[in-house]
């Protein structure tokens, strides 16, 4: 069960001809796939397209009605490989994953697919995770399109343009026998808006029907000599067909007046930001009518030389707005201009920074810099000669703390890292390699456990050089998502085959949690269409690793610590694997909270646990926080002039996971913590016994109070 449910929104996907859809980008994408007769869909979750996978999963009923097959692929490579169905069969297929990391994983399949060429439209929707909010290395997917020669669409970021791009992409793919990638940026995925809907279309040939009439053609196989022919075909036929299609269908757009001496070339996705800067400079209106001509590249690969040169004709200055680096488009356009003996000056990187996201501020400054150089007369007076008298705002950079992401309240991974920190205190620092997923937050304060990540499913593989062992064993950490994505083969068979002496810790939280709580093979939840309930430890034993410890309650910090120490010190040869399993608290609460509220309402007995701190006992040393970092465990300043430092305090968001108590015990911290279980709807006997205890305790308290002074606060 994914973190966010789209069950209600999915109903809007049934809208037909003449309807209006209002909602988020990812839903619009799904609707567009259905309107274009897609035959199969798949992908692998990851921001910013996690929700696209969730939408498709929630729409499985509707997809079934239309005869569309949905696969939640094991990883991006599997998703891209699925597009093989479009090689021989005239079936449209679409898969989605994040870029560029997903494209990295998928690149083998994408390269083969691009070489073979396709018959049915093959579409990859890639969510470009770049700039603010990104969780990965900052690179471009663009390079993959260039190296494998598949086409890259980067539509203007509004719903009608995105929806149109899906249809264009399928047709372009079929017209040029080449897979097409549709790139959507983080914000475009979640941008809201409206578009006019059309009827959903069943695929002309369904994947089921295709199985009844199988096809094959050795000319499509990537083996010599066909592979040489594929390369020639790309250059001699597919590329020209694509360029023709782009021109004939007018996929790229030109806005603004003809005959101006300057112009802007912009990636489709950067169009709105460009217009906004022009609006602020008084050079465009609310509806995008611009005084500066703009050539919008809704297709960023391949570029259309004659179309570009026509735009450049008669212009003295051109600005290329291209986010990210290297600046592939600018280089290509420069080369086109040079070969055509063009005289226009090309601006781009320089006016704009080479690296980093093109935020509103960067766009404004870049376009301003360009206009100052190219057409200063167009700029408003205030920009030409700034005469602003802004009051100086105090510098807050030393005041405002950074707020990186971290483990949620009650996260079952927190006690694992608390245990690792205790192990570190006891046995010293170890070589630690981490993977991708929530557990990577363990590398941040307060834990600072682990120092590198080499990719999804590659945590233990990243310790390969240390497999031979030494005085202290290397430790690697991997999540259940990473384990099933790629980890079993790339990391664990690697360890087993090379007789690694290392320790691998699998953090099993029952979901692909960091991407939004999608089910994986080892999820405990029943899933009607997916095979869940396959224990990770069984898979590990299956590849011949014998030292495997399963921990079913990660909150037992003492046990976690002792198991880790055992793994680090045992004399047994071979890989040492610990599978630490407890359910992701975010998902658990989402599942259990309504059930608990209902039970309380119905008068059933429910214990609601929560932790607290005795503030008179807490000395304000914050040792507990250095082993937790839980959002609900915070500090509070006391109104006590005798106390200098704020004391620990637990707020009402505490879910009573138990980590505080366990850590206080395992690390021998202090006796300040207590757990209070409020009993809702206790039984009659229980209530009576509690009353007896309370009266005895009350008598004892009164007895002591009578013999001493009491100060009420």
């Amino acid at each position: 069960m994914a973190e966010r449910s789209f069950k209600a929104e999915v109903e809007h996907l049934r809208l037909g001809e003449g309807g209006t859809f209002t909602g988020e980008g990812i839903l619009a994408l799904t609707k567009a796939l259905l309107e274009n007769g897609v035959g199969y869909v798949g992908g692998y979750q990851g921001a910013p397209i996690s929700h696209l996978m969730d939408v498709m999963a929630d729409a499985e009923g509707l997809l079934g009605e239309l005869g569309v097959r949905f696969e939640a692929n094991a990883n991006e490579a599997a998703a891209a490989a699925m597009l093989a169905a479009s090689v021989h069969y005239p079936i449209r297929g679409a898969v989605t994953f994040k870029g560029p990391v997903g494209v990295n994983v998928a690149s083998d399949a994408l390269a083969n697919l691009s070489s073979s060429g396709v018959t049915g439209g093959a579409l990859v929707i890639v969510g470009e995770d770049y700039g603010e909010g990104s969780s990965i290395m900052q690179e471009r997917t663009h390079a993959f399109a260039m190296k494998s020669q598949f086409w890259l669409l980067d539509p203007r970021p509004n719903l009608p343009s995105i929806v149109k791009a899906v249809g264009d992409a399928f047709e372009m793919s079929e017209a040029s026998n080449t897979p097409v990638m549709l790139m959507v940026r983080i914000r475009s995925c979640h941008v809201t808006g409206s578009f006019a809907t059309r009827d959903n279309r069943k695929p002309a040939l369904s994947v089921r029907e295709a199985l009844s009439a199988p096809r094959s053609d050795f000319k499509r196989v990537v083996l010599p000599p066909m592979s040489y022919a594929h390369e020639q075909d790309k250059i001699n036929h597919r590329m020209p067909a694509a360029l023709r299609f782009i021109r004939e269908r007018g996929l790229n757009e030109v806005f603004g007046p003809e005959g101006a001496a300057i112009g802007i070339v912009v990636q489709g996705g950067m169009y709105n930001g460009t217009i906004r800067a022009l609006q602020r400079l008084g050079l465009a209106d609310l509806y995008g009518a611009t005084q500066v001509p703009i050539y919008v590249l809704n297709v960023t690969y391949p570029l259309v030389p004659d179309e570009f040169l026509e735009f450049a004709k008669g212009k003295d200055h051109l600005l290329v707005i291209e986010e990210g680096q290297p600046e592939f488009i600018e280089q290509a356009l420069g080369s086109m201009l040079y070969r055509a003996q063009g005289t226009a000056r090309l601006h781009g990187k320089g006016a704009f920074p080479m690296a980093g996201e093109y935020t509103g501020t960067v766009m404004m400054q870049g376009i301003e810099a360009f206009l100052k150089a190219a057409a200063p007369g167009m700029l408003p007076a205030a920009v030409r000669a700034p005469n602003m008298d802004r009051p100086a705002v105090p510098d807050l950079s030393k005041t405002v703390p950074i707020r990186p992401p971290g483990f949620c309240t009650g996260c079952p991974e927190r006690p694992i890292f608390a245990a690792m920190k205790l192990v570190e205190k006891q046995l010293g620092k170890h070589q630690i390699a981490a993977d991708i997923g929530c557990h990577l937050f363990g590398s941040l304060p307060p834990f600072e456990i682990g120092g590198a990540t080499m990719g999804y499913g590659l945590g233990p593989a990243a310790n390969g050089a240390f497999d031979g062992g030494g005085e202290r064993r290397p430790i690697s950490i991997i999540g259940d998502g990473g384990f099933w994505h790629n980890g079993l083969s790339s990391s664990f068979t690697n360890m087993a085959f090379n007789k690694s002496d290392g320790v691998a810790l699998v953090v099993d939280n029952y979901y692909s949690a960091a991407t939004g709580g999608q089910d994986v093979m080892s999820s405990r939840a029943e899933n009607g269409t997916k095979a869940t309930g396959n224990p990770i430890s069984k898979a590990i034993k299956g590849i011949g690793i014998t030292w495997v410890r399963q921990i079913d309650h990660t909150y037992d910090v003492g046990k976690m610590r002792d198991t880790l120490i055992e793994a680090l010190t045992t004399k047994e040869p071979g890989p040492k694997v610990i599978v630490a399993s407890s359910e992701c608290m975010l998902n658990k609460q989402r599942r259990e909270k309504p059930l608990r509220a209902k039970a309380i309402k119905e008068g059933r007995r429910v214990e609601a646990p929560r932790f607290g701190v005795d503030e008179d006992i807490c000395t304000g040393d914050h040792a507990c926080i250095r082993l937790s970092g839980c959002p609900s465990l915070s500090l509070k300043r006391l109104d006590d002039p005798l106390r200098d430092d704020p004391v620990a305090s637990i707020d009402q968001s505490c879910v009573g996971c138990g980590n505080c108590g366990e850590v206080a015990d395992a690390a021998i911290l202090c006796p300040s913590f207590y757990r209070a279980d409020v009993v809702h709807n206790p039984g009659a006997w229980e209530r009576r016994w509690a009353a007896v205890c309370a009266s005895v305790i009350g008598w004892l308290q009164a007895r002591r109070s009578a013999r001493r002074l009491s100060f009420d606060a």
Binding site: R187, R280, L286, T361, D639, Y674, L709
Partner: protein, 498 residues
């Protein structure tokens, strides 16, 4: 130009419901004849990190307007920040400008990990952000919107929506806002309550929480003890007011810890210090001594913990914090992990000293006592045990631990007195170093070692004109990190010149 477009940005911490608030604002605009567009950044930022949401709107025209997908510096009309430091972040990013921005911020704090993990006080200064906001924004609406929402059983997104309505920054009637919440369905009633609470809080005067004095409002007990107490209070009243201010809570703390005689002992120590003090320095030495001697005398031992855990007032407080009535059934589990040291500490001084030196006995005691114990203090057995422990005050002053504490206390005061003749300010700083000793077990040991290291450093700089300043720096360095890396650095600096 873009003056026709209203631009709103929301900066929230993951889990605060920024997405819900964005949805309401968007629905509100659309329902009232506006074209609107919202964007957000999903991803790991939502896992407790800072997240930004952005909305643009303008009256619906013949064609769709071109909206931007992210806020730009200097181009935001309404900036909503769901936490005080996020307001600071918004100001730093240039989203708050005096020509146009209405800043709506909650003044409450969700502390960042870096603020919480410092052994000392690492909490960022909200007043600095507020001061910057007053300069940076055209208008500031600030209140604890988290508190008002929680008070009516809802979350901050709804109270901030109320504050937005109250700001009048958008051309919609309050009723339209409420309708937008109700259109959302689920949980609407609680949200509407919080909406109104937020609306009222935004219009109300900025509430500055008054600090309450820590001296108890009332003292109760047997008449004989009360009379004796009054005698001690009278002694405090005769102290200079600067000293009495801290001696009053100090006296209360030590009497609460032990008894009235112990309180008298405390006052004797304070008065002895006063006799050496200087009026021209405002009795700074005794003032600090009144504070830290009380803390040192009311050390954290097993008896104190057991006593505090078995009081009636504690039970009432827990019930209040858990939002239940004291007569409701509630289980309370305590987490204890005694060590051999605590057991030895409770023994009579001579026996304790012998066992403390004997590794065989240490190991034996550790085997017998040292392990994690979870006690149900609402049950008769565990409560009884804690009650008995808490009642062992009579034996405390003869215990091994007490002897250790007294020796440490006297040594510390003697050190301070030693500097008094030559460097008054340094003596005051030495008194303040007592702050370093806190926590239990390992943390306590680390605190003691930091205290010792600081005093060694102090000895090195003593005699210099800036010695007091160095002492302060050493103490502050010691409070920066757990391992004492900053302190080590400061000590090395001293070693390089002293």
């Amino acid at each position: 130009m873009t003056d026709d477009i209203l631009k709103l940005a929301i900066l929230a911490v993951g889990g605060q419901g920024g997405g819900v608030l964005t949805g309401w604002i968007e629905d509100l605009a659309r329902a009232n004849g506006y074209a609107a567009q919202a964007t957000s950044v999903a991803g790991v930022a939502q896992r407790t990190g800072a997240t930004i949401y952005y909305i643009e709107m303008c009256p619906k025209g013949p064609v769709a307007p071109v909206f931007a997908l992210m806020p730009a510096a200097g181009d935001v009309d309404v900036m909503i920040t769901a936490e005080m430091m996020e307001a600071g972040r918004a100001i730093m990013r240039g989203f708050v400008t005096p020509d146009r921005t209405t800043l709506i911020t909650s003044t409450h704090r969700a502390l960042a990990v870096s603020e919480k993990m410092t052994p000392g006080d690492g909490i960022a200064n909200s007043a600095e952000v507020m001061a910057a906001a007053e300069v940076a924004a055209r208008r500031v609406i600030a209140a604890d919107f988290d508190k008002v929402a929680v008070a009516v059983g809802s979350v901050i997104s709804a109270s901030l929506f109320g504050a937005l309505a109250a700001s009048g920054a958008l051309p919609f009637a309050v009723g339209a806002y409420e309708a937008a919440i109700r259109a959302g369905g689920k949980g609407a009633e609680a949200s509407v309550r919080a909406f109104h609470a937020g609306h009222a809080a935004a219009l109300g005067p900025a509430v500055v929480e008054a600090k309450v004095a820590a001296v108890a409002k009332g003292v109760t007990g047997p008449v004989r003890l009360l009379e004796e107490w009054q005698g001690l209070v009278a002694r405090v009243d005769r102290l200079p007011e600067a000293v009495a201010e801290l001696a009053r809570p100090g006296l209360q703390k030590v009497v609460d810890f032990q008894d009235l005689a112990y309180g008298a002992e405390y006052l004797a120590r304070v008065e002895a210090m006063l006799a050496l003090d200087r009026a021209d320095k405002g009795h700074a030495l005794t003032r600090e001594a009144a504070k830290y001697i009380a803390n040192a005398m009311a050390y954290d031992d097993v008896i104190r913990v057991a006593d505090l855990k078995t009081r009636g007032s504690r039970q009432a407080r827990i019930a209040r914090e858990m939002g239940t009535a004291p007569d409701k059934v509630m289980h309370v589990t305590e987490f204890f992990h005694p060590r051999a040291e605590e057991v030895v500490g409770m023994m009579p001084a001579r026996l304790g000293a012998r066992l403390d030196r004997d590794p065989v006995w240490q190991a034996r005691l550790a085997r017998w006592f040292a392990k994690g114990r979870r006690l149900r203090s609402d049950g008769l057995v565990a409560y009884g045990m804690l009650y008995v422990l808490g009642g062992m005050k009579g034996r405390r002053q003869g215990s091994f631990r007490h002897g250790q504490e007294v020796a440490h206390l006297e040594g510390w005061l003697a050190t301070a007195r030693g500097y008094l003749a030559t460097d008054y300010d340094l003596a005051v700083e030495v008194i303040r170093c007592r702050r370093l000793i806190k926590g239990y077990s390992d943390t306590h040991a680390r605190g003691l070692s930091k205290f010792d290291r600081v005093l060694v450093g102090v000895a090195h700089v003593a005699g210099r004109s800036d010695a007091a300043d160095w002492a302060r720096r050493l103490r502050e360095a010691a409070l920066q990190d757990e391992e004492g890396r900053a302190l080590e650095g400061a000590l090395q600096t001293i070693a390089s010149f002293a």
